[in-house]
Symmetry: C2
Subunit: 545 residues, 2 copies
């Protein structure tokens, strides 16, 4: 059935200014209204609860009969779900609001606007005198906000381009990230050492904390990359290179982080530790993929039996994927790689088994969830920035930003020189520029920094400030300028017209030809237009000859 | 696009026994596997956390360099989402499993089987020596498990039959529930008083706790009614009478519960309190509806602007509805009525504004969520039964069960006698029997009993045992026998063939003719078969003449 977007699009554009103003007013009122409960609820609850209990006991003991309360207010027992709903509603309304102001969303990427909104909300909460809630708490981020985005990416990952460029992607993800970490960490340590001892306390910063900081800051962030690249419609090759790198570097980040965090106490790292580190990297990455594949097959197997209970089909996709992620996290394996592997594994089988309505539900629900999650992450980045605590050190921050840029450029250029020897389709200078420029940092780096223990890392606040600065720099400066630069350099974009047909066939045909070569989808033949049918038959004929 | 159910249904029936066995094996393994973490995690965590912290501190103090851990297990930091996922997966697999055994699901309603599964899981957890987690914790039940079911019911509530029978429904919901509460409470108190003082401690039970208990046990439960009536395909009138009653009696239950709970301490209830009680009832019910309508209109208004962000359209429906429920709960108004009002209010406007894919997503996601929620509730009822604590008192329990049945029958017969004077379509004896027999109790009664404070209600355990017995009796005995009885009495069933066309037209035409009489849905005309088009044109023509 054709979507009703067209007819209602026409109705939408005829909407007058007062209505938009009214909507923005509603948004502002909600913002104000949300500040007070959000702030109020973050105040320590235990004290209030005890106070309530003692008051209740004294009331009962000397009971004076009072009138039956016809109306009473009890915010406490619903405050958690209420706050969560308010944040989600705020994120959704923001997303809605930006699309109503087309000029703004054309210039500034959505991620920047959302960070600004977060800064505003954080500022409002602070002005109201309340304590800012710890919104980018690592547990909340890694267990609730990140998985939907990664699952959406993994489930709809274009497998063919990903596999074709796997070698390149792995080179960038593994070697590139290692290079970034050691280059930035080493040079940062050197700069800190040459600082005069009595002038600043940078002199006390040892090598291993520097390397730990560098390993946090060197990984390209999938959320930021998705958010920015989504709007520039770059060609598929570059998109899959940068995005694939941002997904696969998770294993490297996990190992480096744990390695340096573990040994910052000891102060020394031996050759044995390095060898164990390499083994750990293999375990973390391959183990993560294995866990994902196991759950993927479980989901595929379960979907064979859902013909009588179509209603809960989407649930299996969500639950098995989430459990794959949690199981990988439980063993300190790479949760992101597990989730990607799970989504990519189950998809061809599940799609062949489930009903079309379940397919639509899964697709749209994943897109909805990941969209809201992404919006929330950027808003929370803004809120967390206001929260602090900050320790600004000009040298440290500027050197970090510069080193990040320099190491990224050198890394990409160097690796491309090596990679191009093995590639058929070489990466041009323009491609290298986009890959280097698209290496954005995001909330994963912040959450990892947030996880650091203050006791073992007294420089934690300085690290967090530097991380936030790098994130802001990449998201604002690089994020805002990448679109004009892409147009200026005339980089090949995604081919719009052909995309629809190609994508349609590739996403329909590939699962059929790879897993069930003899089951030609009759419904597909009947319901797609004649042109698609021709392409489909050609593709199948080509596959078999 | 035609659903693929047909073709895969044929593939499904050809499935061999070993495959089903393999699936059941997977289910059993998951069951076993789930018991240990579920039980282990319910053990007090605080002690373990402190232990871990002290151990970590001593480790750092006398740091002996150990090898880098290549693989480590850390269940603690993911245990909450992991357990939630396990429970959801268990519920889904159970639902799947029952439909694979058609003979069983034909005899025993799903709700009974699920309670049995819950009893098994609870028993396994206890056998493993772990503490059973407090699964039917009132907060979890009222804030997480109940809203999806009510929203699904409210959003898809057939408005016309509901409004046509509103008077009858309100009579049953308000007067019927009040009658039940006072009849059962009063007679229960009388029976307790005539018990010999030294024989049992029933003599100590005062009147107000009895009335409180009776008010908890007298409300018909929407979840149980939905679960059982879904399978018997009763005609629409009876369905809407019993189901509507189960929804609208929430206000009565809320007021009676708070009234008796508040004054059980004082021991006396004056005329003023009764008057305040009546006022409170009006405030609770109409206030709840008002809150729901406000949020409904907010959602309708927001949906006008979502033409550029189709992805997050379903989210607004969910978030606004949930916030309506929470806002009502915050003011101790009727959350259920708020949710029903919100869903029913927003639906015509939202459906006219959102895309078809969003519509499918909302519909299927609501059905999926409410289905899983319902399954979980029954499983948890079983688990909570195993958990206890129980205090079995033969007299109390048997008298309660008998009085519930007797008061229900007398109430329905008496009220129908009055109602039939005002109805055009009279309720026959068969109808009265089904209405009386379909008055099932469920988890809401249990959760309300669970909420009671042990200090003020020393008989709490006895109450809970009696509540569970009544629930089991209604769900098992009445639930299992209602289907054969319906067939025996040859009660009119839902008309299958006509239903599709009528429902289709009614659900498509009514919103159009009521809110946008001039916008005939062109797409509807083009995409439905010629027959539907004729009916549609006839209905529109009939509306206008």
């Amino acid at each position: 059935m054709p979507s009703r977007t067209g007819s209602h699009g026409r109705v939408g554009t005829g909407r007058s200014l007062p209505e938009r103003g009214l909507l923005l007013l509603v948004v502002l009122v909600l913002l104000e209204g949300s500040v007070r409960p959000l702030g109020a609820a973050s105040s320590p609850d235990t004290g209030r609860q005890e106070e309530l209990d003692t008051r209740k006991t004294t009331e009962r003991e000397n009971y004076t009969k009072k009138a039956f309360p016809v109306l009473s207010l009890d915010y406490h027992h619903i405050h958690t779900p209420f706050e969560i709903s308010l944040w989600v509603l705020l994120a959704s309304l923001m997303k809605l609001g930006f699309h109503l102001i087309p000029r703004l969303s054309g210039i500034v990427p959505e991620s920047c606007l959302l960070i600004v909104v977060g800064l505003l909300v954080g500022g409002l909460i602070k002005l109201a005198g309340e304590k800012v809630p710890p919104v980018l708490d690592s547990k909340l981020f890694f267990l609730c906000l990140l998985p939907p985005i990664i699952l959406d990416a993994g489930y709809f990952l274009p497998i063919r381009p990903f596999m074709e460029n796997l070698g390149t992607i792995l080179m960038f993800a593994v070697v590139g990230t290692l290079w970034n970490a050691f280059f930035v960490g080493g040079l940062l340590y050197a700069v800190c050492q040459i600082q005069p001892g009595n002038y600043s306390d940078l002199h006390q910063l040892e090598l291993l904390p520097c390397l730990l900081f560098a390993s946090i800051i060197s990984a390209v962030d999938p959320v930021a990359v998705l958010a920015v690249f989504e709007e520039i419609h770059i060609n598929e090759l570059l998109h899959i290179l940068v995005f694939g790198e941002s997904l696969l570097n998770d294993a490297v980040t996990v190992v480096l982080y744990h390695l340096f965090e573990e040994y910052s106490g000891a102060g020394t790292v031996t050759i044995l530790d390095c060898v164990l580190g390499v083994i750990s990297f293999l375990v973390v990455s391959l183990g993560g993929v294995l866990v994902g594949v196991i759950y993927g097959f479980l989901a595929a197997f379960t979907s064979r039996f859902t013909s009588h209970t179509r209603v809960i089909e989407p649930l299996f996709v969500f639950v098995y994927s989430y459990m794959a992620y949690l199981s990988a996290e439980m063993f300190h394996l790479s949760g992101i790689m597990s989730l990607i592997a799970c989504g990519a594994t189950m998809r061809p089988y599940v799609e062949a088994n489930i009903s079309h309505k379940s397919h639509t539900t899964i697709k749209y629900f994943l897109k909805m969830w990941s969209s809201v999650s992404e919006t929330l992450i950027f808003i929370f980045l803004g809120v967390a920035t206001v929260d602090g605590p900050h320790l600004w050190n000009w040298t440290f921050v500027t050197v970090t930003v510069i080193l990040c840029l320099v190491s990224r450029v050198i890394g990409v250029v160097g690796l491309t020189y090596v990679i191009n020897k093995f590639r058929i389709v070489k990466l041009t200078t323009k491609d290298q520029f986009i890959v280097a420029y698209g290496g954005l940092r995001g909330a994963i780096a912040f959450s990892l920094g947030f996880l650091l223990d203050k006791k073992h890392f007294p420089m934690r606040e300085m690290f967090l400030t530097a991380i936030i600065t790098v994130i802001f720099f990449t998201v604002f400066v690089q994020g805002m300028t990448i679109k004009p630069l892409v147009e200026l350099l005339a980089v090949k974009k995604k081919q719009e017209a052909k995309r629809t047909i190609n994508e349609e066939i590739h996403t329909q045909v590939r699962p059929l030809t790879s897993s069930h070569p003899h089951q030609i989808d009759v419904l597909l033949l009947l319901t797609r237009p004649f042109l698609y049918r021709c392409f489909h038959l050609l593709a199948v004929w080509w596959y078999f000859i």
